[in-house]
Each structure stands twice: as structure tokens, then as C-alpha cells.
């Protein structure tokens, strides 16, 4: 197969030279640990991108190792020379995607377009699709994902996922449904709801806004907001991601707020890096940078205010930090300190706490077996401290933890909640 692309420019070739191949990233990489070979390590992947750019290996050779990366970016804090792994990964995924597009059939193109352009970016479509992952099957998207070569979506993964899907609230979110505190306020914030989050975990968004209000913030919901674009970007659909970023920046510029707050580790990570989507000379770069600086995870805001906690009963709590909250947003201490502040709560650190749970966007759907190996490793570590509750900070992790609890036979014994849900419960907010 020959291609018309120039890989030295489409791949982040220059960035690969920052890697001195010391291997310090190896212990931080979940896929290196479970897949047991160098080509599934950060160092290995960076080298393969370099080799592909130099024409020593083909894009077909590159595709597998790059697509099996979770994108958790735990390698970045571990790197002594600050290699921009995220940028290298994205360049590889979009190169692989563009390469495939050259050979895609019309049918494959249509299916992908439906998924990325008409499903994820549209809250009402996701809302309409509603009940769990039924949509996946009823639209024959599973067939399609296979044909798209998103690889091995097994019926098992669908069944498993469906079994743990939470109840979905329906109806469109409107501005008047959210609380705005009158008078003197601590912070003026706009709330970012996210598409998947607002479909499957709308309650978490509702509680987030109530908590912010209860702690003295003025909270606004901006209707024009849309999907953050993270899933598109991670699937190599960079142009669509850019389009969505521009829509969000424009939407949130309408109101002068201190922060744009979200309760979704993954979306938050995409938003704090919005400016990476644009070249520095681009007029959008500064606007994106401004937006990125204002984007905050809810834990960093709630950490600064006083929450109206009530008396609490003793509770053992383990925390599953979302990779993108930890490694991209670098929000580590705030959620843990918040948890420790809850009356009655005992915060239980466990081995390799910062290791990815294997959810990683839609990784657990398209690479089910690989994801379950990582999840099982995670659950073994969590189970070792016997928690009553597992707290999460991202909808993907949340669903994965529900699945993990089920796989370990801990249903009914261990609750899985978003951090915000436990905070609200401890403040008697419903």
C-alpha cells in the first residue's frame, strides 16, 4: 500500500527526540505491565512513531501499539525529560486515522460520521438514545465498529456494560433548572455538563451545581455548550474536536465568569488543553488559552470553599482518580483532601492508586479483553483495603468501577459513587 501522506509532518517527529529512552516511564504504564512488551510501553511507542516518520516501519505496523495505548498519560509525570507524550500519541492516532480514511469504503465513512458527528456532539441525541448502551446494539453500531476496524467489540463486552448501566434521566436540561445564588457570592462560575456525563450521570451534574451553590457560588448553565471533543481527538478526529472546542469557547465567552467548572476528569483534561488544538499564530489560540485557564475540576473549587457538612457515620473510602485529572490536569491533592474532610470518612490509599482503571474513553468497548486485564489488576489493589465506597471523578471510571465491583462479586457490598455524590450526601443535599 502506498500513501500520499508525509509522515514526518503528520507525526510529531520532532517531539520524539526529547525522549532519551531511559525507560523511567515503564513502571507507570498499565499496558506495559499487562501486555508485557516494549512495543506497548511509552518509550516503545515514542520510538515507533519516530521509526514510522523515518519510513522504517509502516503505518500499519504503528497502528496496533498506538491504538492499544489507553492515553492515560501516566508516563508524563514519570518522565525526567518532560516528553510531550500526549502530543505524540494524538499525532499518531490522527495519522493512523487519516491513513485508514484513504482506504475506507463509503459505508465505513458514513458510519463513522454518524458516530462522531451526530451522536457524541449532540446532547439531545444522546438523551434520546437514552437507556444505557441499547443504542449501540439497536443501531447495529457494534457491527459497524467491527467493520471500522475499531477491533474486537465482543458481544460479551456489550452485555457486561449494559448490565452495569445506571438509570438514565430523560428530558432536556434548561437554564432555569439550575440554581443561581443571589447576592454576594464566593465565585461566579459556569458549569460544563459534558455529553456522556449528562446522559448517564445527570444526577452528578445536578448535585455538582447544588453543592457549588450551597458553598456560596453563583452557578450558570449555558445552553449553547456542546461535547468537549475529547473522544474525537482520541480517535484521530482532530478537525471535529477543533470545531467543538470553538463552539464551547464561543458559548462560554458569553458570560464573564471566574471559572468554567466540570465534574468530569476526561473532559476537563481536554478543555485545559484546548489551546493545543490551535497554532500559536491562530487568532483562536489566545481565546482557547483563556478558556483553558478558566476550566477547573470541581474538586479544586470545593476545596477552597466551606461545605455545609452534617454529622457522618463511619465509612471506609477508596478513591479512583481519573488519569486525566491526575496526569493532565495534575489535580491530585484536592480531591483526596476533600474526601478526608468528610465527617466519619476514613480515606484509604491503596497500591498503585494512580494506575488507570482501563476505561479510557471507549477503550473498554473496543479493546474489551485488554481493558479487563487492567481493571482486574486495579480491583485487586482496591479490594486489598476493603472499602465500603469507591469514589470516582469521571463517568468512564465510574462505569468501569461498577463493572469491576461486579466482576469481583462485591455487588451490594461496595458502593460506587462520584466524589460529588458522597459530598452531597454528607451535606444532606439531594
Amino acid at each position: 500500500m502506498s500513501s500520499t501522506m508525509d509522515y514526518t509532518t503528520s507525526l510529531a517527529y520532532d517531539e520524539t527526540f526529547a525522549c532519551v529512552q531511559c525507560g523511567y516511564c515503564l513502571p507507570s504504564c498499565p499496558t506495559y505491565i499487562t501486555m508485557k512488551k516494549e512495543s506497548h510501553s511509552p518509550r516503545g511507542r515514542i520510538n515507533l512513531v519516530k521509526m514510522a516518520a523515518e519510513g522504517k516501519i509502516s503505518i500499519d505496523d504503528l497502528a496496533g501499539p498506538m491504538e492499544l495505548c489507553l492515553g492515560c498519560r501516566a508516563c508524563e509525570p514519570a518522565c525526567p525529560t518532560n516528553v510531550q507524550y500526549g502530543k505524540i500519541l494524538e499525532s499518531a492516532l490522527s495519522t493512523v486515522s487519516a491513513y485508514r480514511k484513504e482506504y475506507e469504503t463509503v459505508k465505513q465513512k458514513t458510519i463513522k460520521k454518524v458516530l462522531f458527528h451526530h451522536v457524541f456532539p449532540k446532547r439531545n441525541v444522546l438523551g434520546f438514545i437514552g437507556s444505557g448502551l441499547h443504542w449501540y446494539q439497536s443501531w447495529h453500531l457494534d457491527d459497524l465498529v467491527k467493520k471500522l476496524n475499531l477491533t474486537r467489540v465482543l458481544p460479551e463486552s456489550m452485555r457486561e456494560m449494559e448490565a452495569i448501566m445506571p438509570e438514565v434521566l430523560s428530558g432536556k436540561r434548561k437554564e432555569e433548572t439550575t440554581a443561581v445564588k443571589e447576592g454576594e457570592t464566593r465565585f461566579k462560575v459556569a458549569f460544563f455538563t459534558g455529553c456522556v456525563m449528562d446522559t448517564f450521570f445527570r444526577k452528578v451534574n445536578d448535585l455538582s451545581m447544588k453543592l457549588l451553590t450551597a458553598s456560596g457560588c453563583e452557578v450558570h448553565f449555558i445552553e449553547e455548550q456542546t461535547c468537549c471533543g475529547a473522544l474525537h481527538q482520541h480517535s484521530g478526529e482532530r478537525d471535529k474536536a477543533k470545531e467543538l472546542a470553538m463552539a464551547n469557547i464561543e458559548a462560554f465567552e458569553q458570560l464573564d465568569v471566574d471559572f468554567v467548572v466540570n465534574s468530569i476528569g476526561g473532559c476537563g483534561a481536554a478543555m485545559v488543553e484546548y489551546h493545543h488544538l490551535f497554532e500559536p499564530e491562530d487568532a483562536w489560540y489566545d481565546r482557547a488559552k483563556q478558556f483553558a485557564l478558566k476550566s477547573k475540576d470541581i474538586s479544586t473549587i470545593l476545596h477552597q470553599v466551606d461545605l455545609p457538612f452534617k454529622e457522618g457515620a463511619p465509612l471506609n473510602v477508596a478513591y479512583q482518580p481519573s488519569c486525566h485529572l491526575t496526569n493532565v490536569q495534575r489535580v491530585v491533592d484536592e480531591p483526596q483532601e476533600l474526601i478526608s474532610k468528610i465527617p466519619g470518612v476514613k480515606f484509604l490509599p491503596y497500591p498503585d492508586m494512580n494506575m488507570c482503571c482501563g476505561s479510557a474513553g471507549i477503550y473498554n468497548l473496543v479493546h474489551y479483553e485488554e481493558s479487563m486485564e487492567i481493571l482486574d489488576m486495579k480491583m485487586k489493589n482496591i479490594s486489598s483495603v476493603h472499602p465500603d465506597v469507591i469514589l470516582t471523578s469521571n463517568p468512564g471510571c465510574h462505569l468501569q468501577m461498577l463493572l469491576g465491583v461486579k466482576r469481583e462479586g462485591l455487588e451490594g457490598k461496595v458502593r460506587v459513587m462520584h466524589l460529588v455524590e458522597l459530598l452531597a450526601e454528607s451535606c444532606n443535599i439531594q
Binding site: 525507560g23 510501553s41 501499539p65
Partner: protein, 467 residues
Amino acid sequence: MECRHELKATMKDPKRCLEDAADLYSYAYDASFGIFQPDLVLQPMSTEETAAIVKIANIHRVPLYPRGRGTSLSGGPLAVHGGVVLDFSLWDQKLEIHPDDMIAIVSPGVLTGSIDTAAGKHGLMYPPDPSSAHVSTIGGNLAENSGGPRGLKYGVTKDYVIGLEVVTPEGEVIRTGGKTVKNVTGYDLTKLIVGSEGTLGIVTEAILKLIPKPVATKTALVPFKDLVDSGKAISKILTSGILPSKMEIMDQSSLLAVEEYEPLGLPIHAEAVLLLELDGHPEAIAQEMEVVEKVCLDAGAEEVKVARDAIEERELWKARKLVSPAIVKIKPTKISEDATVPRSKIPEMFRRLKIIRDTYGVHLVVFGHAGDGNLHPNIIADQRDAEEMRRVEEAVGEIFKAAVELGGTLSGEHGIGVMKSPFMEMEVGKEGLDMMHRIKRAWDPNNVLNPGKIFPEPGQRLVLSNE
């Protein structure tokens, strides 16, 4: 490779045979220079598998390159003549601590740092601490005879190995040494194997000596206006009867790079800074630190900043940790050397390094384990600039020459590998090298194990490019 199928059949699980283009390129490098693609990668996980592989390879004259996690800075695991890379990183199942015998018994893929952590649970420690201890395997450390900052007080890897199980180049399994600290039976093959860079045998199990873990540490940062004074202070501290557990040095270029990278309030006007750590009983090290303070001030130190608690201690070491990320900001390619000189020659080595830097116009910074003379002159360059890399190659050659001329050595802890073999004769002499060669030939008549390492090949010179 006509015996490919035979070799592959040695693996109990076919998943542990790697031969895709992506995999072969993933085992073609280490942390040094050069890309050498093997024909096959095998991931053995037992002595039986290893012995079977070696037997086949020896019959068919297929080169074998044992590899840990590929953190080597001298090209140790590179497949310079094609053949098979043996990745031992999966074989990490055995990590036994026998506290009453004060030994650890480990399989080759165990991480070096894990041994110290496991020993720590019994109040013991495994002292060798290469900076890569959290990543590198003990097998690789044994092959390269790795060191680390604690080498000053505790020595290097070979000082802690008392017994080995080894697969010979002909595929036989032998044991050397044993479980006792004292052992004078026959030739000391243990010490011969450790540091032989995988050219004489493949270590499949190691028995390591452990020592009591010191209960406390104390750290100080000492800036010197004059580099020569810092060198004098190193000797004065040691002759005052105090043996620090670590004594590191950073030159002004390192300080400037770090401060620019992350402002820590370092004394950037100083020509050098010593960072030292004492370990032992809290009362003893408190008194020792008083002596160190006095000695340093007498030797011309500006001040002695002693950390009051663990947090301050971490802060002080942070500067040393940040040297690497700071210097690669300047240019991406980092050539890290480990030329080592007698302690008294440290100031003279610094002087020579300055001349080399100016003569060849290279960006050179120096830091490292000053206490044992093990300096790390690092040259920062850009691999894509061929002209610059040629200058770097010459400068590196001069660094080696300077070290040897001052009575030092080519390598204090990284090994010779493929990088420094062209300079071997300069240090050990023609006859010395010939004796080593005879040992190699006696052990490995078919030159199967890690060919192309330690011994220079005709016309070989230092090469730092990948083409």
C-alpha cells in the same frame, strides 16, 4: 536464521516469541545510542528455557543478547550482529528475603528497587542504588556491575553478590559462590561474571548480601565559590573520619540550567555545590554533621545548609533530580558519561573538562558522584546535527583520555558495551585486553554471548549517530 523454529519452540508460551516489525524495532535500542534490529526476541522465564535457547544458538552460531529493561547507557543489550535478544524482564517471580541469613535470592527480571524495598521490611537494605533502580532489573545491574550515589560508602553491585546460577555459553547450568559471606573455594567466578556484560554467561538466579538498614539520614547543601575548594573539601571530609552515604557535586552550568528550569533559589554564583548525606544513628550523624560543617567552612565553603526534616531533605535533593530535565531543555540529545578519577584528581578533571568544552565548542555540564570520583560529564547536543555530533564524538574521546591519564577509568558504573570498546586498550593495555580476550574465548568459544561488546572490533571508533 535457519534455527528460528527450533528457537521459538523453546518458549512454553508462543506469546513470548516476538517477531513483528514493531516488536523488533522495540528491542533495537537501549538508553545509549545506536539502533540494531534483532531477528527475533524471546522472553524466557526459566532456567530450562534459557539453557535450551543457548544450546541451540551455540550449535547454530546465533548471537544472543541478554536484556533487562533496556536502561543501559553503554549499549549493553544492543543486537550489533543481529540474532536474538533475550528479554528477561518478565522473569520477576522470585524475590525471597532470608532475614536470618541476611540474603536475598532473586530471579533476573526483579526490579533492583524492589529488592531494597523487600529487604527494608526486615530492617535490612540492599545498598546498590543506580538512579534507575525503580526501572532496571537486577539481571542488567549484575551484567553491568551498576553503581549509584551510595557507592561511596557501600560499594557497587559486585560487592553484594555472593552466589549465582549461570547458564554458560554452551547451555550448561552452573552455580558459583553460595549463601555464605565468606567463601574462598577456588576461583571467584561470581566476581568474574558480575560486570562481564553478558559476554560470559547468563545469570538466571542471584544470591545477594543484605546489610542492616541505617535508621536515619541527614542532608546538607554546601556551595563553593571556587571549584577547586569543593574538591579539597571532599578529601578533607573523608580524612576527618566521616564516610557520608552520598556526596554529589553539581557544577555552575548544572545549577544555572536547573534554576532556569525551575527557580529553587540555588546559589547560582557558586562554581560548584556539594550535596551530601550522612546515614546512621540519629545522635551519631548529628555530631558528624557538625564536623562536616566545620571542615567545609575551613575548606572555603560559603555556608552549610543542613535540612531540618524529611521535607527539607527532599527539597535539597530536588536540585540534583532536576538536572536531567533541565539540561535537555537546552538541546534534546544527552550524552551521559561516567568517567571516573581518583578523588584527589577531581579538581584537575574539572579543569580538563573546561578545556575540552572550549576546544570542541560543545555544551558540557558536570555533575555526579563526587565522593567516589565518579563524575558525569554530560554533553547536550542535537542528534540531527551531524557536524555537531562529530565534535561531540571527539570531545567524548578526549574525556575518556583525560580520565585514564589522571589514573582513572573509562567507566565507573555504566559499563563498556559498544560505546567505549574502542578505548579499552588505552586503559588496560594490549596485554591486559588480550588476557580478557582469552577468558572470553575459553568461556564462549563460538562467540555466541553478546558479541560486539567490551572488545573493540578492527577499525571500530566511537559513533553517536544512528545512520
